[in-house]
């Protein structure tokens, strides 16, 4: 009997976690993010960025270009591996290739939007800035360490990187209005949260349904858990309907749209609008509160439609296909991952986490990095895992260290990198990522603890200085015998 109770308790933990992650605020950031990622993959011509990554590009162009490519082009593994190998072998060389590789998992729009939605905008910003700085830093260090190998570029023409392309006005319009949907859906300002009007539909079963939901998925508000609201259950039903209609409408979108395509898109818009409203069950029915957010989301969705109509048919078909493909590839794994995280959370005692990583120490950051390196989670699942650690009392410094190390270094990416650049360089890269992630966690943790920014800047300078000195020493030792 006790076993059965434990099992039910664990399942409840999983279901509760899943329900909380399908709640309105997560959908409002994740749904637009999938469409933005799809638009980037389908509509931004790769040549518009890769032309800055050729062999003759100077440092000050190639490193920023590599980081831009990481955030704009690399939402998909189809692009990451060939572009990484291409930039390394036929283009700007090892340094920019590594910068691209390091920045891509943290700098792409899906990761940023999701981190912001789950862990807070400030945390997403810290992840973005530190990944950018350290991505360029690691790239430059790798280029310095292995400068001799970089001369063994393929002796080919620069033709691969010579192609030029521009981003059309319709694409820019679609991308900007999608970003506007994302901002309108997530920004926490009073203009958006205020209630403009309310409408009560005569649905007397709403209150009873809410009671049933709370009974099905019990929750403990003290632990930071969320229950399923009537609104949440409505959104989950809508998501299932979107999934079904998208399967019929988007699977063969490359050949043209059908009736199901428009149903799927209409349902998506409806989901976003309902997620932006406030639904409250009352004694006499279900109250729909029209918020400023709902109006803003509606307005920006209209802007997306307006710009999308100016895309060529090839363009919007490819866009919808790429968005659907991301959903298929990532969303299912994310749902399973979130459920499992919810189950595991019931098994971990908060004291364990608090003892190990409750404060911002070198050991705590190092432990977080080691955990990140050895654990592999599918794309984006690292974010709910991080949320779990945060709720269990992990300090935000080590949390950032973990979040920087985990997606950068998985077994899959290590094997991939090793196949392209060889084992010696790969192990150096892993070492550098571990050191840099630990440093990033310590710095951010110090900032969270309220340390003076001047001291943090000095700490950063000391870290970079000692690293440079160490490198100069190793380089000197390696080149010395050659001269003797």
């Amino acid at each position: 009997m006790a076993d059965m109770d434990t099992f039910l308790h664990l399942m409840n933990g999983g279901a509760g976690n899943l329900a909380a992650y399908l709640a309105a605020h997560v959908l409002l950031c994740l749904l637009p993010a999938f469409f933005i990622a799809g638009a980037m993959a389908a509509l931004i011509p790769k040549a518009s960025i890769t032309r800055w990554l050729g062999r003759s590009a100077p440092y000050r162009v190639s490193y920023p270009a590599a980081a831009t490519a990481g955030s704009l082009l690399a939402v998909c593994s189809c692009t990451i591996v060939p572009l990484f190998a291409g930039v390394y072998k036929k283009g700007a060389g090892l340094g920019p290739a590594i910068t691209f590789l390091f920045f891509a998992p943290a700098g792409n729009v899906l990761a940023l939007a999701y981190t912001g939605g789950i862990l807070g905008a400030e945390f997403a910003f810290a992840r973005l800035v530190l990944s950018l700085l350290f991505g360029i830093g690691i790239g430059m260090l790798m280029a310095m360490l292995f400068w001799r190998d970089d001369d063994t570029h393929d002796q080919q023409t620069d033709a691969l990187f010579a192609e030029q392309a521009r981003i059309g006005p319709a694409t820019t319009g679609v991308l900007l209005s999608l970003v506007a949907v994302l901002i309108a859906g997530t920004l926490k300002v009073s203009l958006l949260t205020t209630t403009v009007g309310a409408l009560t539909l005569p649905l007397p079963w709403a209150e009873a349904w809410q009671a049933t939901l709370f009974q099905w998925v019990p929750f403990d508000a003290a632990k930071g858990e969320e229950g399923v609201s009537v609104q949440g259950s409505l959104l989950i039903i809508l998501l299932l309907l979107i999934g079904l209609s998208a399967w019929k409408g988007l699977e063969n979108i490359v050949e043209g749209a059908n009736r199901w395509t428009w149903i799927a898109l209409g349902l998506t818009a409806a989901t976003l609008l309902i997620a932006a409203m406030r639904l409250t069950p009352r004694a006499d029915g279900l109250e729909f509160a029209l918020t400023g957010r709902a109006l803003a989301v509606g307005l920006t969705l209209w802007a997306v439609l307006h710009h999308a109509r100016q895309l060529e048919s090839d363009g919007w078909r490819a866009w919808l296909w790429e968005s659907w493909r991301f959903v298929k590839q990532i969303f299912a794994l994310l749902v399973v991952g979130v459920f499992i995280v919810g189950v595991i959370r019931q098994l971990i005692q908060p004291e364990w986490i608090q003892n190990l990583a409750g404060s911002n120490t070198l050991l705590a950051n190092a432990v977080a990095v080691v955990f990140g390196v050895f654990m592999y989670f599918p794309t984006l699942v690292e974010v709910p895992v991080a949320r779990m650690f945060l709720d269990l009392g992990m300090h935000r410094g080590p949390l950032l260290a973990y979040l920087m190390a985990d997606p950068e270094l998985s077994l899959q990416s290590i094997l991939m990198v090793a196949a392209v650049i060889g084992r010696r360089k790969t192990f150096t890269y892993i070492g550098l990522v571990a050191v840099f992630s630990t440093a990033a966690g310590l710095l951010y943790g110090a900032w969270v603890d309220g340390m003076n920014p001047v001291w943090i800047a000095i700490g950063l300078a000391v870290f970079l200085g000692s690293l440079a000195a160490l490198l100069a020493w190793t380089l000197g030792r390696r080149t010395a015998p050659a001269h003797a």
């Binding site: 072998k89 490819a318 493909r325």
Partner: protein, 79 residues
Amino acid sequence: MKTVKILGSGCANCKKLEAVAREAATSAGIEAEFLKVTDMKAILAYDMLSTPGLVIDEKLVSSGRIPTQAEIRQWMVVS
């Protein structure tokens, strides 16, 4: 007899491209041999920066996107 190569490490788009290309060949009544190239070095031998890539009789005709059946039929007839 055409030789059609699908370049890609096995991601969703590569499978989709293969399906579209097979349908294109069947509907045009063109006999073709399909080869999947998954080795990264072999893929990079062609000048491309993103998969999936489509090669017809050793000529790279598209990369980084999924062409429509009509496009592929045309390439098969021309090349």
